[in-house]
């Protein structure tokens, strides 16, 4: 019987990778853990000492190497921080905006976020990856998995309109998506809600006021005032804004393509001025998640703009005095750790400016002191000029 390969015994500790794993590096990682430290150090030094034409190459190969050589996952390595450092490093360098490697880093970062759409919108507004099919495919996939296949379709169509490369990939993805929608194999919530029996419980749907402070715990049948949340029935769900408290009037005649254009425009204008880095976005979201949004009595106030009125809204106005219970279904607080890391990365105070190269010190998975940064550079210079130990320094 042949001896078992090293990975066979460690199989359950190996996280699968999307692109598959390289057997050679996997074996290396499992058999020589002490070499890993050394190699990692090399990469960390490279990050700080590289002075060539393509600094992203070092980051890219380091990230790939880390994934391949830490088969049980990168939990101890602060991957989100590392990706964020990489993103911040190249943000000023516009030549990388549509570099597939840079786009991959952004997408990987997005995948680790609680709200990846924030990152996607930021990328789109910044122009990062707007010519890369991978970006649109990943973004569409996110929406498809959240049950918004129509939005997913829009995004793929947008990618095709932007002439993202490779074009064929995008077209295939779109074709397959449409096929899935047609087969109903995608988790299409819009379709589900239309097909669902009328008497199902619906998030944020209006309940008949009971007069007491408690909300009725039976939220179907006669207790329910409206079938759909908001005033404009039917449209809210179609727009994909399933959980929005307020319905926005949408012209049914307008093409979905136009709407997607408007949506992305709105997204970009809100982020465009604070676009220096996406963490501004994520941070803002975090703050909101912690804070209580002052809730208005939904029943007592109509939208500030004119909407198409129908019979439902009149019945709503009659119930002005009723008490609506808020916070019954509060969102679960997100306790992800990388937010604190973003705080570290940001200045200690908005009015303070670091007069040293922060990303060189804290850039990789571990910190470096100035002498280490200089030594990394020195070592490479010595190696380039031949024998490191016998060269007299001039």
């Amino acid at each position: 019987m042949e001896p078992q390969p090293a990975w066979e015994a460690a199989k359950e500790n190996i996280q699968p990778l999307r692109r598959g794993r390289n057997i050679a590096s996997l074996t290396e990682a499992l058999q020589n853990p002490e070499i890993l430290e050394e190699k990692k150090r090399e990469f960390e030094e490279d990050l700080r000492a590289y002075d060539g034409e393509d600094p992203l190459h070092v980051w890219d190969s380091y990230l790939t190497w880390l994934e391949e050589h830490y088969p049980s996952g990168l939990h101890g390595l602060h991957l989100p921080q590392l990706l964020e450092n990489c993103i911040s490093t190249f943000i000023p360098d516009r030549k990388y905006d549509n570099d597939p490697r840079y786009v991959r880093v952004w997408l990987k970062f997005a995948g680790l976020q609680p709200y990846p759409e924030e990152v996607y919108k930021c990328m789109s507004a910044r122009g990062v990856g707007v010519r890369s099919s991978a970006f649109y495919i990943e973004w569409a996939e996110y929406h498809e998995l959240s049950g918004e296949s129509r939005r997913a379709q829009e995004i793929l169509e947008k990618g095709i309109a932007m002439l993202a490369e490779p074009h064929d990939q995008l077209k295939t993805a779109l074709k397959q998506l449409i096929l899935r929608i047609a087969q109903g194999s995608t988790r299409n919530f819009e379709a589900e809600s239309e097909d669902a029996p009328q008497d199902s419980r619906n998030a944020l749907s209006k309940l008949r006021p009971t007069g007491s402070i408690e909300a009725p715990n039976v939220r179907v049948g006669s207790n329910r005032l409206a079938l759909q949340p908001g005033a404009v029935q039917g449209l809210a769900s179609k727009s994909g804004l399933k959980n929005s408290k307020m319905a926005i009037y949408i012209d049914e005649n307008a093409s979905s393509g136009l709407f997607s254009g408007m949506g992305s425009l709105a997204g970009s204008s809100s982020t465009a001025h604070s676009i220096a880095s996406n963490k501004e976005n994520t941070k803002r979201a975090e703050k909101m998640a912690r804070q209580k949004i002052p809730q208005r009595l939904a029943a007592s106030e109509g939208p500030t703009f004119d909407v198409v009125q129908d019979a439902e809204s009149e019945s709503r106005n009659q119930n002005k005095s009723s008490t609506t219970i808020v916070g019954v279904l509060s969102t679960r607080k997100d306790s992800s750790t990388h937010m604190s890391l973003s705080n570290v990365l940001e200045g200690p105070n908005i009015n303070e400016k670091r007069m040293y190269d922060f990303l060189k010190v804290y850039g990789g998975t571990c910190e470096f002191q100035f002498e280490e940064i200089r030594f990394a550079k020195y070592k490479r210079k010595m190696a380039a000029s031949g024998d490191a130990t016998h060269t007299t320094h001039t």
Partner: protein, 374 residues
Amino acid sequence: MFGAPSSLNNKSTFSFNNSFGGKTAGATNNPMKDFEVPSPPDDTVSGLAFSPISLTQNFLVSGSWDNQLRCWEVHHSGQSVPKAQQSHQGPVLDVAWSDDGSKVFSGSVDKTVKMWDLNSNQCVQIGQHDGPVKTVHWIKASNYQCVMTGSWDKTLKFWDTRSANPIMSITLAERVYCADVFYPMAVVSTANRGIFVYTLENQPRDYKAVESPLKYQHRCVSIFADKTKRDQPVGFGLGSIEGRVAINNVNTNNPKDNFTFKCHRTNSTNTNGYQDIYPVNDIAFHPVHGTLATVGSDGKFSFWDKDARTKLKTSEQMDNSITRCCFNARGEIFAYAVGYDWSKGHEYSNSQQKNYIFLHPSFEELKPRQTAKK
């Protein structure tokens, strides 16, 4: 002009003669009009130390990124004379004197620890690490004496100067970034803001790990003595890369004794609306007054009275960072080295820029405020 004539200070025999001031270089390089040390190192100074109190003369030793160890004799006139030079195979990161002033120890990125006998001008290797040697200190105990070295190989080693093997080795979780020794106390700080205090009596032993009072990377540490018993170490000053120094008493019951203060920052927000923050590169305590000096990447040095919690003085700005500083054993001379500290990476390094070591009269200026008022 200098404000430190020896006639006002009967403890000090060190005096500066203003006529030598004219010999210094242009005002932009030497804004404090201090005494310039001749034949300075060709690259950034990373180690700087004055001879111990056992020698009546003052000798200054530097280690630098040009692989060289240099020694000058500093005369009471303020003039200094190059005396000797030795070299490593790589940049030198730290230097230390033996207590009798006969030897100088040095650690280098070439991973070796060397001992330089100044009488015979012989330089021999006494230790070896697996990584660059970042800190070197001499320990003189009643029952032993040795050299303590801290390295990026995450170890602290103790060498008796005769054996090729260390008499003791302590493994740390992280790379050693800075250290100081003041018998019987040693303080070592590592990456990830670790601080470890050792007691050196009988043999080096763990004393305690201290939680960092700072938020960012530790850059320099220096032990200070008790206010009245000047031979008793009681705490340390710790500088960070983020313009802040922490004063930490090791055995205090009163949390108010420990505090941090901001330094090496622009005074107010500048025209861009930002306050600029610079790393603190070195801290030195005055051997007589117990006051301290800090030097930073902003190219300034500042004198502080930690007990009165006041600033005594801030210098003008040099044309480059100040990387290291030290007082002579009697506290009359403050030496500081001007050169690039690599805080902004290789993009800002300029091999054409000259490096300097300056000498500043310090006995009067570092007197605590109260006594100065009398």
